[in-house]
Assembly symmetry: C2
Homo-oligomer: 478 residues x 2
């Protein structure tokens, strides 16, 4: 694995790494949950979410009146103001902005791509990848060499010279969890350019990261890592249907010339903010449970599922706790992280400041896997707390939360990892997620109100239990 | 519970009755499943569905090229021919049509409804309910009396005279399974007219059966039962948003006059067919496992989720068994039932013929709860077989099939019930189902390819296990 895309790989690992349950002889934790009281409380949380929930209207407002929120953009700046105001309206004890400098990449004019096959001009749905350089003004026209993986590209050598390298590795659709299929492919998108730039390739085009065959290019981040600037080449995604067709056409016409043009560029870093608000803990105000998602989004849709849903669900956790008159023992801190998509600067800064100020994070929960119907949670914690959380299955199963497994949590809370903190990723159903992910189709109308609200209630329920039962006194450093 | 809507109540009970697990002292069945072999086989079934599945393209064809399929309509007739042809293409051992006479109700011209409030004309999205009579040509104009349940309507008496009775009982959104919320409301739709006709009410309008607030009227069946024809009154559904608004306006203006007009009518019964095809059992050809859904649909959308998905998934069970070279011991019979929506004539006729011919049905599986992501199965069987099916949880859980509970199965296979047959309902996630149910929004674009295919594979997996392990020799009559 080459060095340049390590950050992405770490993020992916945190988000959906395989189950790592250890088969040790440690006896199962016998918890003394108050089943009757807790199941009643959880039922009340769900009832409130499903009848008085606010998240759907918040999301409508964010996606309709602000729209996309790429780091450094006007939308991102507006969303910070919107978030601060909304957190105050929900009545958090304190709300503040955490300044952070973020990458500022802009797409420029609408990209164009086409080629001629059997005398017919084929227009290709295309978009630049985030972080890519532009093509020359007149675009790039070159022959294509097709590969199916990053591994295959690594051995192209001279064959890639002056060519456009076409990464056409498709999702493995037999994987039930679609995030695993994404994990198997996304290296092409992130590391493709850096892999073949040194061979003298002119550019890279990548099949969009999606399960299906559609007509939308799905953008996403790419990186040049530490290769010399002279090896930087432009990179774009093409729709999965265009990729299928191009691959077919190349079999008949291997020397066809592909044209594409993009004018994206990276401006100087821009000032932005994480938005933070909290409910002070009644017993242990210095112990913190973070709940969050990321406020930035890609620019093509309106960032509804990625990660508007995570944002409004996180704030709804605070709303539902208050509405149910639950007074948390520990401090509940809601964090809207900036710049998850192309830099993770917000998350990095949040963790840096937490460490600097000696803050004690006992747990963190992230929602960044879409707003679909609940399936469970993925837990990255020490064995004792992991088994504790798994012992709550009986309380959570009536709400469709069956999958409570060891695994990664979320990219934004990942930097908080240490031996003691319990990191949890909320896991909704993944089947539809990559239909919209990073594409123009990631819009509010794809979100179902009940599914969104069930997610908020699922998150609130596990936060309620974590606040009440987490083994923090015993296992955390003093 | 009045007599007239007993058939609907039975159907609803069969579809989503509460868990009826008995707490007896009977020891849990210890089955001797071949875990390794069965889990491998199930994995192959899912792999095939997700990479070579046909159901999505079949559904596109059915919904796009034929569209809605109300009993007696041209669409229904075309769908019978389409089904017979497709079953033959899949290579079933034999395919035949089973004649059945069906109700033939037609909607007529587009319905109109409105009223004036504060000087403003409010247009109301409206549709006649299936089975209703028309209004007079000039429509009906009358004052409104609002009720929230069938129970409340029963005691209206004289107060309903010359009024339009407005049934405005809303779904209980705190119920996680949306079918239960439907079950709590649908009596208003089915039995409203027959309840208030005798009071001299002029008509009935019903709030649409849906969880959310939308602008679509959701149709569905109603019945006059055995009341005298002189008491028949026209019945229509209005959109949930219109119902909310009307209720508000009535508070300010209780004497407002509501107008609506519909020209629907019931023609003489029409000839139609169930479509049946089977794979002959290799060991017990006389023992039958039925897999099915219903071919008819309402007329407003294209009947994608209700029940196009059940149709194509049922046939895909046969396709996946063949593609995986699984030779069933028992006969696998695929049945596309006609007229589930407004008569259950196909199901009744199928069961009548099965009995007449002394056919031995050991099990039946229906898919009629939409094509969303898999959640489990609902089992209506003797205790031994129910526990057997529940013992397969470990094999099915990796595919999201956690809810394997006692309960109803499906309206079409319900008439096969006896002491020995194992009836199973496929249960996908229910959150989005009533967004589309019986409305113009129930269209192909609402169906997700992977979710549909996962459903086919889930059904095929349980059919594979039922065929292999069901206790039929021991418990069935010789």
């Amino acid at each position: 694995m080459t060095k340049f895309y390590t950050p992405l790989i770490i993020a992916i690992f945190l988000l959906f790494s395989c189950s790592t349950e250890k088969k040790t002889a440690t006896p199962i934790v016998t918890t003394s949950i108050d089943y009757k009281k807790d199941s009643t409380q959880i039922k009340h949380i769900f009832n409130t979410a499903l009848t008085k929930g606010k998240s759907y209207e918040w999301l409508r407002d964010l996606t309709t009146n602000i729209g996309s929120r790429l780091s450094g953009s006007e939308g991102a700046a507006k969303s910070v103001i919107w978030s601060e105001k909304l957190m105050k309206e929900v009545g958090l004890d304190s709300v503040w902005l955490q300044p952070v400098m973020v990458p500022h990449w802009v797409r420029g004019e609408k990209e164009v791509a086409n080629y001629t096959f059997n005398g017919e001009k084929i227009n290709v749905p295309v978009c630049a990848l985030g972080g890519s350089i532009a093509t020359p003004k007149e675009g790039i026209t070159a022959e294509i060499i097709e590969v199916k993986s990053l591994e295959e590209a690594k051995s192209l050598g001279e064959k890639a010279k002056d060519k456009i390298v076409f990464f056409n590795g498709a999702f493995d659709n037999t994987l039930i969890n679609t995030f695993r299929a994404y994990g198997g492919c996304v290296g092409q998108r992130y590391g493709g350019a850096a892999t073949v730039g040194k061979f003298g390739a002119k550019a890279v085009i990548v099949r969009s990261m999606t399960n299906g065959i559609d007509d939308y290019p799905h953008t996403g981040s790419m990186g040049y890592g530490d290769i010399p600037k002279s090896e930087y080449i432009p990179t774009a995604a093409i729709s999965s249907r265009a990729a299928e067709n191009l691959s077919k056409h190349l079999k008949e016409s291997p020397n066809l010339k592909f044209f594409f043009k993009q004018s994206c560029k990276t401006l100087p870093d821009a000032p932005s903010h994480n938005v933070v608000g909290e409910i002070k803990g009644s017993e242990n105000p210095d112990k913190i449970l973070v709940i969050g998602g990321h406020l930035d989004s890609w620019d093509l849709g309106d960032g509804a599922h990625d990660d508007g849903t995570g944002i409004v669900q996180s704030l709804e956790v605070a709303y539902l706790l208050k509405k149910n008159n639950i007074k948390p023992k520990n401090t509940i801190r809601i964090v809207f992280f900036m710049n998850e998509e192309n830099g993770l600067r917000g998350a990095t800064e949040y963790a840096r400041l937490a460490k600097k100020h000696g803050e004690l994070h006992i747990g963190a929960l992230e929602s960044d896997a879409g707003g679909h119907t609940p399936r469970g949670f993925s837990i990255d914690a020490n064995e004792k707390n992991r088994k504790l959380l798994q012992s709550w299955k009986k309380l959570l199963a009536p709400y469709g939360l069956h999958d409570i497994t060891a695994g990664g949590s979320g990219a934004d809370i990942g930097p908080l990892k240490d031996d003691h903190v319990t990191l949890v990723g909320y896991r909704p159903d993944s089947q539809r997620y990559f239909d919209y992910h990073h594409a123009a189709t990631d819009t509010f109308d794809k979100v179902n109100k009940r599914e969104l609200e069930l997610g908020s209630a699922s998150m609130t329920s596990i936060v309620y239990l974590m606040d009440k039962y987490l083994y923090n006194n015993e296992t955390l450093k003093p």
